[in-house]
Symmetry: C2
Amino acid sequence: MRVITKIQDMQTEIINLKSQSKSIGFVPTMGFLHEGHLTLLKRAREENDIVVLSIFVNPLQFGPTEDFSTYPRDFDRDQSLAECEGVDYLLYPSVEDMYPHPSSVKVIVQERTNVLCGKSRPGHFDGVATVLTKLFNIVLPTRAYFGKKDAQQVAVVEGLITDFNFPIELIPVDIVREDNGLAKSSRNVNLLPDERRQAVTLYKSLSAAKETIYRGERNPRTITSLISNMIRSETNGEIDYVEIYSYPQLKELETIVGTCIIAIAVKFSKVRLIDNIILEVSQEIGGAK
Amino acid sequence: MRVITKIQDMQTEIINLKSQSKSIGFVPTMGFLHEGHLTLLKRAREENDIVVLSIFVNPLQFGPTEDFSTYPRDFDRDQSLAECEGVDYLLYPSVEDMYPHPSSVKVIVQERTNVLCGKSRPGHFDGVATVLTKLFNIVLPTRAYFGKKDAQQVAVVEGLITDFNFPIELIPVDIVREDNGLAKSSRNVNLLPDERRQAVTLYKSLSAAKETIYRGERNPRTITSLISNMIRSETNGEIDYVEIYSYPQLKELETIVGTCIIAIAVKFSKVRLIDNIILEVSQEIGGAK
């Protein structure tokens, strides 16, 4: 594995690889790798000739009240993990190299942002889209891998790739769950023992919603009530949101039909958990898959 | 020459050519080709394996008072001219193919726009940068050609390519001039006979400014006065602007030093002409080249 810190070196290397028709799988991260990232890397390793992992804590996507400087970093550990996953190139640029001067251009995300977690993070996805535009141009990936855990990010990236015509295949990777259904997250360690048992209800409620849609329910309010009631009765968590949208457009729905996301965020005493499921729902009863 | 209307077809073709290590020269235009465009095409033909010309009248870069629908179009003539210049691919997408739905993302140009012609065209360069981001991703050029006549556009494109790390070499192409120095433009036909003689003063005043800087003058106000006085005394034109900036940053200068642009716009009875020169100016007297 080669660690590359200079953007220009990475780009030159990649252009050379592409002239040899190598496929490039790209996993962009902010480092402090966890199991979710490793799942993306494994998938990229299976599907591409070359795997590029980038680690860059992007100041542009942090709001003024969010702490860029204390975001967790552990490059040595990340490097070992990347090596174990068979990464070919670890791109690790400095902030100075990525943003050498005030940028003359930036990307604005004008759809898909004012819902779910994005609602409380104005400008966050502009920063994400801007850094990804740069990274996509540096790494020139054939495929880019993102976890469905952050489904809104996947939706924004889908829009970025499609609407800017990036010649990149977006690969959204399924959420990794524990046997009991709890979505894996580095944040789960901050659950109290009781809360950890309760947290299983997040996925249980999403699964119950899915079953209810299977059986013919198409009213979004009925479904969000079902989920909210389950979470309120089975946990001490405080619901941040329970929302249903079209996917990846993230538009409100009158009727649950087409590709939809059901997404939830619940605050426990020391940690806020998110989870979601994406469904294909046909007009007919029983048409969900 | 192949005319391609579908974005996807163009991208597939180009990815195939790039895997054969072909260099791609790209000339993006809004069509109604004139001598300036042909100069760009000739240069692209000399320097690349493959030449791509795009013709797309981009609605995004027209303001509400600017007339997108009456912008001149003549595809048949353009196609013949392109053929003569040895273009390999003419990309001619529809508005519906370029903007199939409201875009979830756009590019904002936050520097270099609030001066020169950009000052009176808010949002114009956002539209230019957004469509170029799309076209760059579709055509994946090795080199992109732009005329220095629109020096502000070249500056904006330089920022777009550099700050978004597009793996593209920007080739700014010199202004083509008549023997008397008048910058060629399809708009020159709208000059009255008397004005046509007067219009020579635009370049004459820029050349006099250059000479004066050679001789040691470094004060921007002295230079702009010199130019303004010449234009006022030798023409009936009305000065729109005479400005000096750093280039390509387009920042105001206290002292003329480094790479600078002197740009002018003058309104004649039926037409507004622009012209500019870009200079490398050293600290020392006589250091201009």
